[in-house]
């Protein structure tokens, strides 16, 4: 016995124009049709925003954690007679630590700048037992802060590694959580869209049960009937999703720039190739529409002899 629906034939039927006008057998309008288009559009719209949120928070987390990486410092507060020796030891140790790109002893004027908030503009740096500060630039692969801390403890007991974690880490974890939330909503929205488009397709097919029965009675083959419906619905889902995506992308594009807080925040928009991501949404909607309608049509057809 032949398989009752041939996928390749269905795909051909879907992409080929419809010269015979077989699609006309499906009633053109009705609320179920609008519903399919609209739910695809609405879900695509929400998906674009969730996608933008996930991408933006991802960017934000990355930026924050890279800033965090760049502001690692080693502070040496040894007594005056030991400080030069310990500083040299630390610099040597840092040089041999894997994952560190650069270690730079801050000159007095930079230290002065850092202490300004505490002692005012005319810090008497010379008069103070000011610590030596070494700015450490992390290499791309990063380094093991704990190991370095232990090593410094042995070699230069008065050196303190300050990776500013207390300040920045919560921000990074907040951004990461937001990204997870964005991805989670994306998943939710994808699942809800899938279910909604499936249900809309089924509702539309059920509303057209009469049409299917008439067509079977006059000798239409399953493939003919299924193709007409699947083509309609795949197009509707894709069109609706494309509309929703376009609208949402435009809305994201039109959102006010959020970068005014300097490097701290990032806009909700897409960046560079990121603008291509939303293009996946109509494709996904079309795929969902195709699979859902095909399954629904097959199921309905099985109930009609």
């Amino acid at each position: 016995m032949k398989k009752s629906l041939d996928l390749a034939a269905l795909w051909r039927g879907l992409t080929r124009p419809d010269p015979a006008g077989t699609d006309r057998v499906v009633p053109p309008t009705g609320f179920t049709a609008q519903l399919t288009v609209f739910s695809a559009a609405a879900m695509a719209f929400l998906a674009v925003f969730a996608l933008a949120l996930a991408l933006a928070t991802g960017r934000m987390a990355e930026r924050w954690s890279s800033e965090l990486a760049q502001t690692v410092t080693v502070r040496i507060t040894a007594p005056p007679e030991q400080i030069d020796q310990q500083t040299a030891t630390v610099l040597a140790a840092l040089k041999t630590t894997p994952g560190i790109a650069q270690a730079r002893l801050l000159p007095d004027d930079e230290v002065e700048g850092l202490l300004e908030p505490w002692f005012g503009p005319d810090v008497p740096v010379e008069a103070l037992p000011v610590p030596r500060l070494i700015e450490v630039t992390r290499a791309a692969e990063g380094f093991d802060a704990e190991a370095l801390r232990l090593r410094l403890e042995g070699e230069a007991p008065d050196a303190v590694l300050d990776d500013h974690t207390r300040w920045r880490q919560p921000l990074v974890s907040a951004a990461n959580r937001l990204r997870v939330l964005g991805l989670f909503s994306l998943l939710l929205i994808a699942a809800a869209s899938g279910a909604m488009i499936t249900l809309a397709a089924k509702a539309a097919l059920a509303a057209n049960g009469q049409v299917i029965r008439v067509l079977r009675l006059i000798g239409a083959r399953d493939i003919t009937i299924a193709t007409a419906f699947v083509r309609r619905f795949t197009r509707r889902a894709a069109m609706g999703a494309a509309g929703g995506t376009a609208l949402a992308t435009a809305a994201v594009w039109a959102l006010p720039e959020m970068d005014q807080a300097g490097s701290f925040l990032t806009g909700l928009g897409f960046q560079g190739w990121g603008w291509l991501w939303p293009l996946l949404i109509p494709v996904a909607a079309a795929a969902i529409g195709f699979v859902a309608t095909r399954a629904a049509a097959l199921k309905m057809l099985r109930e009609v002899r």
Binding site: M1, K2, S4, A20, G21, T22, R24, V25, P27, P28, Q210, V211, R213, V214, L215, R216, L217, I218, G219, A220, R221, D222, I223, T224, I225, L301, R305
Partner: protein
């Protein structure tokens, strides 16, 4: 074309409705099917176009066992059998002419427009070609159903109460059409209560009258 041997049928959950039926429909034959309301005439016709499958016995259509037919096989069978349903359904969003041409459309065949026009004239629906099915009167629907049934020039025509909504003159016209088709070699089976129709037909064609009574198929005598 259709062969039944000891065929029986019952709707699921109900007692058997038809039992132990044997019948052979030959090409070019002309049958009437009668029986009281609810006897199973429509059911019998549905068995003939594989809308229902027999519960027992053997049935072959065009040489093939109907139980072994694939879904596409059933579709193929239905293209060779034209059916006028007791309550024919149309696609309400397509005009009457397109509905009548629908069997051609779904089997991918070309629509021969002059032939379609002739067919419409033949059932006196030329004026309603562009009307929508819900705008047809009861009799007009029945004539449109007949036109749709014969457009693929099937080998067998099944008609369920085709004159139920027609007056005597129109019934005679319709009978004439069916007799014409029969003369051109097609087998015809008409389910009807209208004994006058049967009597009128018997004067023009060699028609056999079948009767469903007590779940069985009987050959009604010459008493009609």
């Amino acid at each position: 074309m259709i062969e039944m041997q000891n065929l029986s049928f019952g709707y699921s959950g109900n007692d058997p409705l038809l039992a132990d039926m044997s019948l052979t429909l030959q090409p070019g034959s002309f049958h009437f099917l009668t029986g009281p309301s609810g006897a199973g005439k429509t059911t019998f016709l549905r068995l003939c176009y594989a809308d229902l499958l027999p519960s027992g016995g053997r049935m072959a259509a065009f040489g093939q066992d109907v139980r072994g037919l694939s879904r596409d096989g059933i579709a193929g069978l239905r293209r060779r059998v034209g059916v006028v349903h007791q309550d024919t359904q149309f696609l309400d969003h397509l005009p009457v002419a397109e509905n009548i041409a629908l069997p051609l459309l779904v089997s991918g065949e070309q629509v021969d427009m002059p032939a379609l026009g002739e067919l419409l004239a033949w059932v006196q629906l030329s004026g309603h070609a562009r009307a929508m099915p819900p705008e047809l009167s009861g009799g007009e629907r029945q004539r449109a159903a007949l036109a749709r049934a014969v457009i693929m020039s099937p080998d067998l025509i099944l008609a369920d109460e085709p004159t139920g909504n027609l007056d005597w003159d129109m019934s005679m016209r319709l009978l004439q059409l069916l007799i014409e088709l029969n003369h051109s070699g097609k087998a015809v089976l008409i389910a009807t209560h209208d004994l006058n129709l049967i009597r009128a037909a018997k004067q023009q064609v060699q028609a056999r009258v079948l009767r469903i009574a007590g779940k069985r198929l009987q050959l009604a005598g010459a008493d009609l």
